[in-house]
């Protein structure tokens, strides 16, 4: 219990993560401050000072991870994290501090401390406005600003954040903020996941009595939510000043904040258009409690402030043939562009019709106010509509946001919201979700929509209406620049929330060229798109694509006879498919006629993509497509394809340390960053064969960047020009790439690292085993190997029976350390999109708990 005191005191010892040595008291004319200051702990000259300002009702404890990270950094920073007057452990002056007072008092403090440039400010919550006030007033010292869930504009009361409105009512305010600890408790409850009890107590430590909480209420009263509020002019002054700032800026944002929601992020970005953004989709108001923001901020300080890269003198990049160019050139061609088979009927869209419809939709979008650079989320199943909409967006220069239902509803919604579209074009079901979750202000319906639903959702237009609008518009559409944003795609989210991946038009053109050269597709040829997304590539390649009779949302519904019909329809020699579609074909091969078999025998190239393809599945396919070269690519949302391999080469390569994925496709390059003992990829990019490491890739079709995930992008691109895939593997002496799993899943034992793929395949081959996963438990560098088996016969989760455990151990003799434990589970957790990527991270967490004697659910 802290005695009520009016003087500034040091922070008590024993608060988690807070070194009492950082704590000091600084006296200024307005009062005595408690601050955290690491100056005495620094062993090297600091780059500059990070001035951290907390909001309401927290204190400098909020910045403890920043102090620790800045102290330990290779290029350290001094951190001054203040407790504002009458807050935290600073003096209780008894004064009421308005916004302008607090900005001035902070200046008094930095004058007293004699801070010299460079200073970077960091602010959270209302501390953000105060830190920006200081920033605007000290241009001579200022070198950058960091903002965490904050604002410099305040909507008038009727539009104030709903979560805050009740406490802004004067009577309620006193009760919520001062008389009780309600406001503090509510704020601390905003953490995701829940804060540890000791950390919650640390946040409460300086606010134990009503007397010590007086300023918490004053802070709320100082929210200038009405036009005549005394602090409004000061806030407006600061906001105007912020718009003039040209120093590096970083916005680190928790998206699940009921107070400082995305609209405040948008406002700050409008004022600081050059700012770097990292938006955490699952973090909340206390973003620095939910995520390791400090490490990222130190990286950012290093990159943007301490050692900013020389101004980029981009070499003149070669001109690019845009994806939509072919379509425009063939606007008078009556030949087939798209052929869709449905039972005995078919629908053909000519190049002329597709080109006209695309142009009309593009103009129609412009008419309803979509501008080049605006983002448009497209939720339309594969088919002629989707093809037209995508090429229309590309023509207009609108950025298409493509999220697939395979992410699951929650992740899909988070992904779309994260990309901040201005419009959603979707089928009725998608528009219902778009409305419910407020994805975008403008909705456009693709396909039929019920009149009442349309009116309830406030749908702006249908695709047909857009075409009509476009047809009568005489707007001249400019073509986008090759280096403008073109699309945002999403990773599968099997390792954390789905990440948005931004492509430029140049990147998409690179993807088209890589596919064309690898699979020998040219204009005037035809292919069968048994994996629907590939149909989208046809207009870019100038090739006719035919879609077989199947449910595009369930690839397994493809039959051998339907595929044969598609091959016959266009005399297609190239087939694009997914593993699920191939499984469907194999399951129905007995129903295929002799004619069908003859048609399939004519297929020359089959590409299976979308998920990893087991070699035995390809072997079985060969029985049905005896004349085809069977290809599988390796790639990821960030770059596709990276490599390609044919079945014959996989068979010739034989057993190896992982999965042989072949050689880089045209334009792509692959290199390896070797692993250290603790399983971190630290090696410089190297092509030396047989070195295990993280796989780095590059090529013309590499992503431009991750969307509003600055820290993630920075980490993935830390080797200039390369993308770190997070996969591990090695090159062999013949230049082939072998993939051995994910970097995060490497088991780092005290006798070297173990990658999971090869040992898992040995266990998979055992009788009674459906599939298995190899995970590590314990600290990296001394991890133990654990095998988790999903048996053929369902079993409860727990230790494997002795016989199974013994057989697994026998199968894995020869690993650097012996298998510590064999566990069984009823089913291994996998990703939603492919149901094939085992969630080893979750599995490892479960195994760690069980093997430490704790109860755990998978």
């Amino acid at each position: 219990m802290i005695a009520p005191t009016t003087v500034a005191t040091l922070a008590p010892s024993g608060l988690p993560g807070l070194d009492p040595a950082w704590s000091r008291v600084v006296r200024t004319p307005s009062g005595a401050w408690h601050v955290l200051d690491n100056a005495a702990q620094l062993t090297a000259e600091p780059v500059g000072t990070l001035l951290c300002v907390h909001g309401n009702p927290t204190w400098s404890y909020l910045w403890r991870t920043f102090v620790a990270a800045a102290t330990a950094a290779d290029r350290p920073w001094r951190v001054i994290a203040v407790d504002q007057l009458d807050m935290g452990f600073s003096q209780r002056t008894g004064d009421t501090h308005l916004l302008a007072d607090r900005v001035r008092e902070l200046g008094e403090l930095t004058d007293t401390l004699g801070l010299t440039e460079p200073v970077v400010t960091a602010g959270h919550d209302w501390g953000g406005s105060i830190s920006l006030g200081w920033a605007v007033d000290h241009p001579e010292l200022l070198a950058g600003v960091v903002l965490l869930n904050t604002a410099v504009f305040q909507p008038l009361a009727e539009r104030a954040p709903a979560a805050l409105r009740p406490v802004m009512v004067p009577g309620v305010r006193q009760a919520a903020t001062v008389t009780t600890t309600g406001f503090i408790d509510t704020t601390l409850a905003l953490a995701h996941p829940r804060l540890d009890g000791a950390v919650r107590n640390a946040f409460r430590a300086p606010y134990r009595t009503a007397a010590r909480r007086a300023a918490v209420g004053d802070f709320v009263a100082d929210i200038p939510a009405v036009a005549e509020h005394v602090s409004r002019p000061e806030l407006e002054r600061i906001a105007a000043g912020v718009s003039e700032l040209d120093v590096p800026a970083l916005l680190a944002w928790g998206a699940r904040d009921p107070v400082f929601s995305d609209r405040f992020l948008r406002d700050l970005l409008d004022r600081l258009p050059h700012a770097d953004v990292h938006r955490y989709p699952t973090a909340g108001h206390l973003v620095a409690e939910d995520e390791d923001v400090a490490t990222g901020v130190l990286r950012w300080l290093d990159t943007r402030v301490a050692a900013p890269a020389a101004p980029v003198t981009t070499p003149e990049r070669p001109p690019v043939r845009l994806l939509g160019a072919t379509l425009t050139e063939r606007a008078a061609d009556n030949g087939p562009a798209l052929v869709e088979l449905h039972g005995d009927t078919s629908r053909t869209v000519s190049w002329r019709a597709l080109a006209r419809r695309t142009e009309e939709i593009a103009r129609g979008l412009a008419v309803i106010g979509v501008r080049p650079g605006d983002r448009v989320a497209v939720l339309v199943p594969p088919g002629a509509d989707l093809t037209a909409v995508l090429y229309a967006c590309l023509r207009l220069g609108a950025v298409v946001v493509v999220a697939d239902a395979g992410l699951g509803v929650g992740a899909l919604s988070r992904a779309v919201k994260a990309s901040e579209p201005v419009a959603v074009i979707g089928i009725e079901r998608a528009l219902l979700a778009a409305k419910a979750f407020r994805w975008a202000p403008t909705l456009v319906a693709a396909g039929p929509i019920n009149r009442r639903v349309r009116s309830a959702l406030g749908v702006e237009a249908t695709l047909v209406e857009l075409s009509d609008l476009g047809a009568v518009s005489d707007a001249e559409l400019a073509w986008p620049d090759a280096d403008d944003e073109a699309a945002v795609l999403f990773t599968s989210g099997s390792t954390g929330p789905a990440k948005g991946v931004v492509y430029t038009h140049r990147g998409l053109a690179g993807m088209r060229d890589a596919v064309a050269s690898t699979y020998g597709i040219s204009a005037e040829c035809s292919f069968v798109a048994a994996f629907a997304p590939f149909a989208l590539l046809g207009p870019a390649l100038g090739a006719t694509s035919v879609s077989p009779d199947m449910d595009v949302t369930a690839p397994r519904t493809l039959t051998a006879a339907a595929l044969a019909a598609a091959v016959r329809a266009v005399d297609g020699a190239v087939v694009f498919a997914s593993p699920a579609a191939l499984a469907g074909i194999l399951a129905t091969q007995d129903d295929a006629s002799d004619d069908d078999r003859a048609a399939l025998a004519g297929v020359e190239t089959l590409l299976s993509a979308g998920a990893p393809v087991p070699a035995d599945l390809l072997l079985a396919v060969r029985g049905l497509l005896p004349g085809a070269h069977l290809h599988t690519p390796y790639g990821m949302t960030e770059m596709l394809p990276v490599t390609d391999v044919e079945l014959d080469e996989i068979l010739a390569a034989g057993d190896g340390p992982g999965v042989c994925v072949g050689r880089p496709v045209q334009g792509a390059r692959v290199t390896i960053s070797a692993l250290a003992d603790e399983g971190t990829a630290v090696g410089l990019p190297s092509d030396e064969p047989d070195v295990l490491g993280e796989i780095l890739v590059t090529g013309p079709h590499l992503k431009d960047r991750y969307d509003r995930l600055w820290f993630t992008q920075d980490a993935s691109a830390r080797d200039a020009g390369w993308h770190r895939t997070g996969d591990v593997g090695r090159l062999d002496a013949d230049g082939r790439l072998w993939v051995e799993g994910r970097l995060a899943h490497v088991v780092a034992t005290d006798h070297g690292v173990v990658t999971p793929v090869a040992p898992e395949r040995r266990v998979d081959a055992l009788d009674g085993v459906a599939r298995a996963a190899v995970v590590g438990v314990g600290p990296r560098g001394t991890q133990q190997i654990v095998v988790v088996v999903e048996p053929d016969e369902p079993a409860g989760a727990g230790l494997a029976e002795p016989d199974l455990a013994a057989r697994v151990r026998d199968a894995l003799v020869g690993l650097p350390v012996p298998v510590a434990a064999v566990l069984v589970v009823p089913g291994l957790p996998t990703d939603l999109r492919h149901n094939s990527k085992i969630d080893r991270t979750r599995l490892a967490g479960w195994a760690s708990a069980v093997l430490a004697g704790r109860r755990a659910r998978l």
Binding site: D750, V777, P779, A820, A821, L851, G853
Partner: protein, 327 residues
Amino acid sequence: MRTVLVTGASGMLGGAVAARLVADGWDVRTLQRRPSGVAGVHDELGSVTDAEAVSRAVAGAEAVVHLAAKVDIVGPEAEYRAVNVEGTRTVLDAARAAGVSRMVFVSSPSVAHTGDSLVGAGAGPAEPSRARGPYARTKAAAEQLALATDQPGFRVLAVRPHVVWGPGDTQLVGRIVARARAGRLPILGSGAPLIDTTYVDNAVDALVAALTAPTDSYGQAYVVTNGEPRPVRELIDAICAASGVPVPHRRVPAALARAAGAGLDAAWAHLPLPGEPPLTRFVAEQLSTAHWFDQRRTREALRWEPRVSVDEGIARLAAHTRAAVDA
């Protein structure tokens, strides 16, 4: 010939260390209350609490391996303190007075264990007030005492072997076998917690290696194990099978076992009951939490690697059982 004193050589580990040192060409003295039974050593009979006996035993030795301790799970703490703390002080004083240059203090990972799971843990600081049970608390105090004595000319190092077992072991193997035979060995909880153990030959190797470890490895404590943790149920099953006793089948929830253990601890502490309780809270905790260790620092500092795997150790235990039955 170089002379070494081994205290506590009547135990499994102490006897094996003495025998190994004889084989390595040392002149070996031993100090314990009963004859060590080790061939080729000079037995000094007495307690480490007897300063005169200790002085006699250590005279002329250049090195000491101090294993003698009261190792048990019940009994008044004062008895542990007399042997483990005061006895160690006596040995330290006598050794320094006799000009001994190196002393290896045999400790236990339990000195740093305060009840939570240890997962890939290093050798944490000894916790004389927070360690579990009188043995661990007094060994913790003794280890602090020993390491505080380390100085140029009199180097002291602590080795903490974790759960040493092997043929002839009365502690782990003996207790498991006795209880399994009596049908009083349940499976606690899931039986899944990973427990690292030390096959006796590996512990012997590590202690002998410690005697010749580089000087800068001294002054510190090292946990020694096989580095092969196994689920506790698999270990117990394997030991039972190798010892020819029935494998346990009865399951008891871990929390219940801990509570029962605590109750029995209290009963044995306050009532004149014979022997040891069927289950102590300490044992219940040991069997329902993970204990395994990061061995990298130990192997580097002692220039030592375990030679006998858990599987090989189990095979040797089974061979020992067969030989005993045949005899």
